[in-house]
């Protein structure tokens, strides 16, 4: 890795959901890292465990989820500039004091649907201030001052009158700004955005993305952006992590992924997006079949059934990741002449 230090380093994260009959492994040996001040995009179809991975790190999952990892290291920065590492995998209670001290002031999350992530019966100002009061113990009045300061920075005009509005008085884009405000109010270093603009129009999406970029450039935030929009990835990301069926199938820099996509799934994903200005009569390429049921997976590569380049060896046992270029990892047997990494 380069000289830039890592803010989050995840090694071999496994999440298993337990029902009364059986256990289903949803996230399998996921390893990735986020450098401080950069954006990592996590892409994949729905149902490929992008959100579960992030929720496992934030410990937002229910009691039926078992989160195990070799290491989840989150490195916060103290006010004097020294690093303060936290090992999240050892924390037993997902709602205990340790986790709560991190969620909010250090890392926070922006959820997909702004319509349902706000409480309709509380004023937006109170919802934003809640986290601040919880974590710093300042008075309501002081918290309100800070919220008033934050709103214009996030592009919410006329904060004095908007702070006492209820969520239904806001449009979709404005609600998403409020949700970002909730995530931002305690000034965390890492913001995880789970499909922040999927429910919004393209013009509003552009506004929100400009806002996130601004926050990153001006305040040096690190962002994990979960999305399935390859266009957004190209615009926002520094590094890309492609996931399929709970595994990281390809990880690399933006250039690695867009110029040298190596895993068949990444290639197929890139080709199936309709692009403006496609020639007449040109057909979109499709990925045959659907994502398999995670409860009954065959051994070997999860993508084998839908893959055009599938061979006998793909059906074998576990497929490791190969490092085909520095920092560019691919989980596909085609690249077995490259060194194996875990």
């Amino acid at each position: 890795m380069e000289s830039k230090e890592l803010i989050l380093e995840v090694k071999k994260l496994n999440t298993t959901f337990v029902s009364d009959k059986k256990e289903t492994r949803i996230v399998k040996d996921v390893s990735f890292a986020v450098k401080r001040g950069t954006t990592l995009a996590v892409v994949g179809e729905s149902g490929c465990s992008k959100s579960v991975t992030m929720n496992s790190i934030m410990r937002f999952l229910g009691r039926n989820a078992k989160v195990e990892a070799e290491s989840i290291r989150f490195t916060a920065k103290r006010a004097d500039g020294t690093a303060e590492p936290h090992q999240l995998e050892g924390i037993k209670n997902p709602n205990g004091a340790e986790m709560r001290a991190l969620r909010g002031p250090q890392m926070s999350m922006v959820f997909q649907d702004p319509m349902s992530s706000l409480n309709p019966v509380y004023k937006v100002g109170d919802q934003v201030a809640e986290g601040l009061i919880q974590h710093t113990g300042i008075s309501k009045k002081q918290a309100r001052e800070q919220v008033l300061e934050l709103f214009p920075r996030l592009g919410i005009p006329d904060p004095e009158s908007r702070i006492d509005c209820y969520p239904h008085q806001f449009s979709g884009g404005m609600k998403q700004r409020v949700v970002i405000a909730i995530a931002m109010i305690c000034n965390p270093e890492l913001i995880i955005c789970d499909e922040p603009t999927t429910a919004l129009d393209v013009t509003i999406q552009a506004q929100i993305m400009e806002l996130l970029k601004k926050l990153q450039v001006e305040n040096g935030k690190s962002i994990i952006l979960i999305t399935h929009n390859m266009g957004l990835v190209a615009e926002m990301a520094d590094e890309v992590c492609v996931m399929y069926m709970g595994r990281v199938v390809e990880f690399g820099s933006l250039e690695d992924i867009f110029d040298h996509p190596s895993h068949p799934y990444t290639k197929a994903l890139l080709r199936s997006v309709p692009v403006l200005g496609l020639a007449d009569g040109q057909k979109l390429e499709t990925i045959p079949g659907i994502t398999p049921n995670p409860a009954d997976l065959k051994p070997g590569c999860e993508f084998a059934d839908r893959c055009a380049e599938c061979t006998e060896r793909c059906r074998g046992a576990n497929i490791p990741a190969y490092e085909i270029a520095p920092g560019h990892r691919v989980r596909c047997v085609q690249f077995d002449h490259f060194p194996e990494v875990d």
């Binding site: 509003i204 399935h228 997006v273 692009v275 403006l276 496609l278 979109l284």
Partner: protein
């Protein structure tokens, strides 16, 4: 262009669909939501007309008004019968039945468009019974023919909707619309609830079916790249009005209305070597209850002049290109009325 040779199927003239806002116990009408406010369009046989715009711009209401699922409050919607045109908005119940055989709709959310308690068979049989196909054998033939068209095995008819994936469900919805052999399919955001890889499957299938049956599509979506891929012509809507109407190629190569340009530039492009300068629109779509005076776009437009604030620009053809219509004062010199 060879527009003259093409057969006009629909002539929509100044169509308005306003929803009254009532107040008090006597339901006094205090205002209107002008969802569709004076739309004029021609739809040609065999083409795909795309309709794009942000949410709340009235594109779904336009689709429903064409289908007469929402009764328009004004204007005409003329549909071709042989060599005649009949005004759909004045149809009787009986005529409406006939009309619905010719025009069918596919809805946005395939998860809620199929009744989860009924087998696909029951959901599929109902429209055929309604449209008076008496013999069961004939109904079953029509059903399996429609299913084969969308590449689903006819023996899946005995299954329930939850046994299908999202893409399959949307294909089922398309098949159900095709059963009665319509000429026009109004598709309201047919792929926006689907994953990218599945989206491509459904779009390709829709193109194949169109070629096979010479269908006419009115394709409503908010995603300009999807619309551009599907459509021959595109109408861009803003606050209940069509602001630009052009061949999809021309719209992409030479967008004229500032709103179209902003929409195009807002789309993120999966190309890391040619990052484009994005023009971010300020603000949001104003409320269709209190529309801005003059050009409805003037408060977000980077080229707004005094005239735009008072005078509403009509939709006019660009000079030298009869097929490219734009409603903007900027092009007064360049357009012919």
């Amino acid at each position: 262009m060879k527009q003259q040779e093409k057969e006009i199927l629909f002539q929509i003239r100044d169509l308005r669909t306003w929803f009254p806002i009532t107040k008090g116990s006597f339901k006094k009408v205090v205002g209107h939501v002008k969802a569709v406010d004076g739309v004029s369009l021609d739809v040609y046989r065999g083409e795909t007309l795309g309709v794009v715009g942000e949410s709340g711009c009235g594109k779904s209401t336009l689709g429903k008004s064409i289908m007469m699922l929402e009764k328009p409050t004004g204007g005409q919607s003329l549909f071709r019968y042989g060599n005649d045109f009949k005004d759909v908005t004045k149809f009787s119940r009986e005529e409406m039945f006939q009309f619905r055989c010719k025009v069918q709709m596919v809805f946005q959310d395939p998860y809620s468009a199929l009744n989860p308690q009924k087998k696909i068979y029951t959901s599929f049989e109902e429209p055929l019974i309604v449209h008076g196909i008496k013999s069961q054998q004939e109904r079953e033939e029509l059903m399996s023919r429609a299913l084969r068209m969308v590449n689903i095995q006819p023996d899946y008819l005995m299954r329930y909707p939850h046994e299908f994936s999202g893409g399959q469900r949307q294909r089922l919805c398309i098949a159900r619309a095709l059963e009665v052999m319509p000429e026009v399919l109004v598709c309201d955001e047919p792929v926006s609830a689907l994953d990218v890889s599945i989206q491509a499957q459904v779009l390709n299938l829709m193109k194949d079916i169109q070629k096979e049956l010479r269908l006419t599509y009115i394709f409503i979506a908010h995603d300009l790249s999807v619309v551009q891929y599907m459509s021959d012509r595109i109408a861009v809507m803003y606050l209940g009005k069509v602001v630009e109407l052009a061949d999809s190629r021309a719209l992409y190569d030479d967008p004229m209305h500032p709103y179209t340009r902003a929409l195009l530039s807002a789309i993120p492009v999966p190309d890391i070597h040619n990052p484009k300068k994005r023009q971010v629109l300020e603000g949001e779509v104003p409320s269709p209850i209190r529309k801005p005076t003059g050009c409805a776009f003037h408060n977000r437009c980077p080229h707004c002049t005094e005239r735009c604030k008072t005078e509403d620009p009509p939709l006019r053809a660009k000079a030298g290109d009869e097929t490219h219509l734009v409603a903007c004062h900027l092009y007064d010199a360049a357009v012919s009325s």
